[in-house]
């Protein structure tokens, strides 16, 4: 079982990335749950969601102690890093945050997702850069499931599909080459 908490600013694609993750898990025949936090936030406010992918039926859908934290900006990184399980992983968008976790019992991957996304062709694909990192580091889901989901999502927009797939692959390479 892997518990992933995705957090960031509204509009960064945190909830979309969470949904794609859950769908990938479903495609692979696993049990999944996706729980968005739906506080009274407006555009530009904070957004986060909890995704669990498991071989067994999922009891609690909460991720109070996530195995993996994805932090798309500084405030999310500092708010949620203390909650990450011992030995857990934090993937932080280095373009919008520092990477000082203040604890040494977790592994922090610092990836400049916005910069890589711009290089891929659209800053809005930063969430898929991070997805690439996540898949490379945790193998939570398979490459082909993510690509498949992106294909379905951008079925009418082949140009965006290409950018997002590129962003995903560049995210993977960013950590593999480290």
């Amino acid at each position: 079982m892997i518990k992933i908490l995705l957090a960031g600013q509204g509009g960064q694609g945190v909830l979309s990335a969470g949904k794609i993750l859950a769908e990938c898990g479903l495609k692979e025949g696993k049990e999944v749950s996706y729980l968005p936090a739906y506080g009274p936030e407006m555009r530009g406010g904070t957004a986060n969601c909890s995704v669990i992918i498991s071989e067994e039926p999922i009891a609690s859908p909460l991720c109070n102690e996530p195995d993996v934290l994805i932090a798309m900006n500084g405030p999310s990184f500092h708010k949620f890093t203390p909650r990450v399980k011992k030995g857990g992983i934090v993937i932080v968008n280095g373009s919008m945050s520092d990477c000082y976790a203040g604890r040494d019992d977790i592994t922090v991957y610092d990836v400049a997702a916005n910069d890589i996304a711009m290089e891929a062709g659209d800053i809005r694909s930063a969430n898929n850069v991070i997805m690439g990192v996540l898949v490379a580091v945790t193998k939570a889901v398979k490459d082909k499931s993510v690509i498949g989901c992106l294909n379905e999502k951008f079925i009418g927009k082949p140009a965006l599909m290409e950018i997002n797939e590129r962003a995903f692959r560049m995210g993977k390479e960013a950590v593999i080459s480290d």
Binding site: K19, A22, E23, L26, E31, V32, S33, Y34, L35, P36, Y38, G39, P40, I58, A59, S60, P61, L62, N64, E65
Partner: protein, 356 residues
């Protein structure tokens, strides 16, 4: 059929549509806005009716009308909105019109907050409106159940001519999980209603009314209702038991909280404490037998709720003084985690063993 990923609110709608719901009336309120949103798209596609009413009061009275005409009708809202519907619900209960009311509970009292809560247990199970009546209350704890229970609610409501309620916390509404949808049931498959006011004249004229002014008529009518509630209690009680056989402590909760309790029970078992969970599925009728049975072997009970303690009263009635019943709850839209429940369970055991 393969599973698809759905929101709890969407699953509720699919459960309704697939079991013949062809009329939906609602008024927006967070956190259930996805229900009317979904219905506004899909009702017209199946030849049904969607109305965004001018208020919750109007919506429930539209359900009264549509349900009375024999159509499977539904409304949904969240706590403050459901309070507004209570007058209509009481009328519907008296007129014996089947329908389904969905309450995606948010934190109260008052307008409260928009985050998950379970503070409407009393309102749902004890008759939130005036007079002697009950609803059939089902509490889903997963997205699959949100679909299945809504489907089932229509059948139960039709069978007994008692309105049914889906009582879910805000988490169920927003949660996305894989769901296997039931097949679309043809309307021709749904039993005919020989009482519906669907246009008969003369000898076929039928009346549905909640004003029964003569005491010699109202008493037998209410007694008939009582008979129906007894019958429902006999036939329809449902609960899930999780590792209860050898449990020292029984955690009990409904909805999403029951899942948190299951996780807590797993943690407790790993630490050598034999914990089990009883999850009432029908909140009315309350599955009391499961509790009286467990009271024979367990040392203590712990009711875990997103409230100040409501279901605990039914748990205590069911346990009937045989064993102590403790409480752990959070309010205001805060949700407890597994560790809080683990701690509360250990405290409960300490107390009972110290003879408190």
């Amino acid at each position: 059929m393969s599973k698809i990923l759905l929101h709890g609110t969407e699953a509720i709608c699919e459960g309704a549509i697939r079991n013949g719901c062809r009329a939906f009336f609602g008024y927006p309120i967070t956190p259930q806005n996805e229900v009317p949103e979904y219905m506004s798209v899909y009702m017209p596609k199946v030849g049904g009716v969607f109305v965004q009413a001018e208020s919750e009061v109007a919506a429930i009275n539209m359900v009264y009308g549509a349900g009375g005409a024999g159509v499977r009708a539904m409304t949904s809202s969240s706590s403050p909105g459901v309070s507004l519907k209570q007058e209509g619900i009481s009328y519907i209960a008296c007129a014996r019109i089947p329908c389904v009311v969905v309450n995606i509970m948010r934190a109260g009292p008052g307008l409260g907050g928009i985050l998950p809560a379970q503070g409407d247990y009393f309102q749902a199970t004890k008759g939130g409106g005036h007079g002697d009546y009950h609803l059939i209350v089902l509490a889903p704890s997963s997205v699959q159940e949100a679909c299945d229970f809504t489907y089932r609610a229509f059948d139960l409501s039709d069978k007994y001519r008692v309105p049914a309620m889906i009582l879910a916390d805000g988490m169920i509404g927003q949660l996305m999980e894989p769901v296997e949808l039931p097949p679309m049931r043809p309307l021709s498959d749904i039993p005919k209603k020989d009482w519906a006011t669907d246009g008969g004249y003369g000898e076929d004229r039928r009346v549905l009314n909640s004003l029964i002014i003569k005491p010699e008529e109202l008493e037998p009518h209410v007694n008939e209702l009582k008979k129906t509630y007894d019958l429902i209690a006999e036939n329809e009680k449902l609960c899930e038991k999780y590792m209860t056989e050898d449990a020292e402590i029984i955690l009990t909760a409904y909805g999403t909280v029951a899942r948190i309790c299951k996780s807590a029970a797993n943690i407790l078992r790993k630490q050598g404490i034999r914990a089990g969970v009883i999850r009432p599925i029908t909140l009315y009728p309350f599955p009391s037998e499961a509790f009286s049975e467990a009271a024979e072997t367990a040392e203590a009970f712990l009711s875990v709720e997103l409230s100040l303690g409501q279901m605990i009263e039914d748990v205590r009635l069911a346990v009937n003084g045989k064993k102590p019943v403790y409480f752990y709850g959070r309010t205001g839209g805060n949700v407890m985690d597994e560790e809080e429940v683990v701690k509360a369970a250990k405290n409960a055991l300490l107390k009972v063993r110290a003879g408190e």
